[in-house]
Symmetry: C2
Subunit: 249 residues, 2 copies
């Protein structure tokens, strides 16, 4: 299907996972036909054109990722997934279910912002090197309080879920893929911090492991299409921001 | 209609505008019947119960605001507005329009987070007094770069909008009310900073002024139901974080 005329077009920075990865995971898990436009030759110019699009003012994007689907241009990661979810078989069938899955996605987006801000507490317009002491303070509070609060919340959601193994029951949704991505990102950024937190998060860790084994997703994760985590994305590894390795405790 | 059996129930902190205010504005502008539950006698206990709700795991809220509508429990401000919009006559009729209005709301939510983080760059679990130097640095970048970027984006959206005076054309949507609220909040928090930025934002400032004059909204803003801005909400006034008063320049 790849490259068919009816494929989705994703516009996102070509060298990072970043927010675009939440969209890539959904498209890949569903085996959808899509173009990752900015990664094609000349793609960065196409991305710039989309960001400056004036044709349809209502859909003018503020920032990537942007999805083009036919004539529609959609920005904001959670909104793109809200649009794609039912089309990719990654959202519940009911209206209430579609609200619930988007609610989870928005909470995961909040977590992603806070994870990002551990290395940019003073401003995205500055380098990490210009805000290192502040980053250390913010990361400390993130690991001690915020990360456990967010992941503990999803642990409670999974615990209360009696009808299946996923956040919303028997079927995997885009929010499950996004929770996997957050866990992977946190494992990359804070290997010690996550290791210490995960003892209280058996269901979250199990969900992340099961998502990684979904056949199309497992193939994607092994492919060159999966950009490696690096020091330019949402989740970055600065050892000085991580917790100390666990002792006996 | 107030207090009718079919009214919406809003659960939010009773002493601040905060994120709940975006929901209050939509309900008030539409003249909808609703209860602001936590502001009623014993309401804080009702809010706590909702936050601990286990009955419907899929809708377990992470944080206020939470809206109850019949059997539905919905968290996340933007999602509550996505749900209410069509029901209150504050969203476009088309699917594409509903995506566009939610996209704008999500971008405004991003702005609100960054405005909040000017006084809490290191962590929400700490007092402002424990992060004052860091707040000063973050606020400086916010006023110099981030606020103009966000508001300039909405200026461009309004400029490209030929068919009417609102973000999405002739009809007022919940995103217009939210843009008004952001402008008011920024005016409260950064009176000098906004005054200097607004010269390049004629359409945004005009929109905010027109929203404030909508009859039901104007009545609400004058009523005791409108909580005053204060030092506990999203937008806080710390003069040391604001820009210096404008000189000739």
């Amino acid at each position: 299907m790849r490259g068919s005329r009816n494929s989705y077009e994703l516009y996102y920075w070509p060298q990072i996972q970043g927010r675009g990865e939440f969209v890539r995971l959904a498209l890949e898990d569903a085996g959808a036909a899509y173009r990752d436009v900015a990664r094609e030759p000349g793609g960065m110019r196409a991305l710039e054109r989309v960001l400056q699009a004036q044709a349809d003012a209502s859909a003018l994007p503020f920032a990537p990722p942007v999805l083009r689907s036919g004539k529609l241009l959609i920005a904001q990661t959670a909104l793109i997934l809200h649009y794609l979810g039912p089309r990719l078989g990654l959202a519940p069938a009911t209206d209430a279910g579609r609200l619930a899955v988007l609610q989870h996605q928005l909470t995961l987006a909040d977590l992603a912002v806070e994870a990002h801000d551990t290395h940019h507490p003073i401003g995205v317009q500055l380098y990490y090197e210009d805000q290192k002491p502040e980053s250390r303070r913010r990361a400390e509070g993130f690991l001690a309080q915020r990360m456990p609060k967010f992941l503990g919340y999803f642990e409670r959601v999974l615990k209360a879920q009696r009808s299946g193994h996923y956040l919303l029951g028997r079927s995997c949704t885009y929010a499950d893929l996004s929770l996997f991505q957050c866990v992977e990102g946190l494992r990359y950024a804070f290997p010690n911090g996550l290791k210490q937190a995960q003892r209280k998060l058996p269901r979250v860790m199990d969900l992340a492991a099961r998502v990684a084994e979904r056949p199309r997703l497992a193939a994607y994760l092994q492919s060159p299409r999966r950009i490696a985590f690096n020091q330019h994305g949402l989740f970055r590894r600065y050892p000085e921001l991580d917790a100390a390795p666990a002792k006996k405790r």
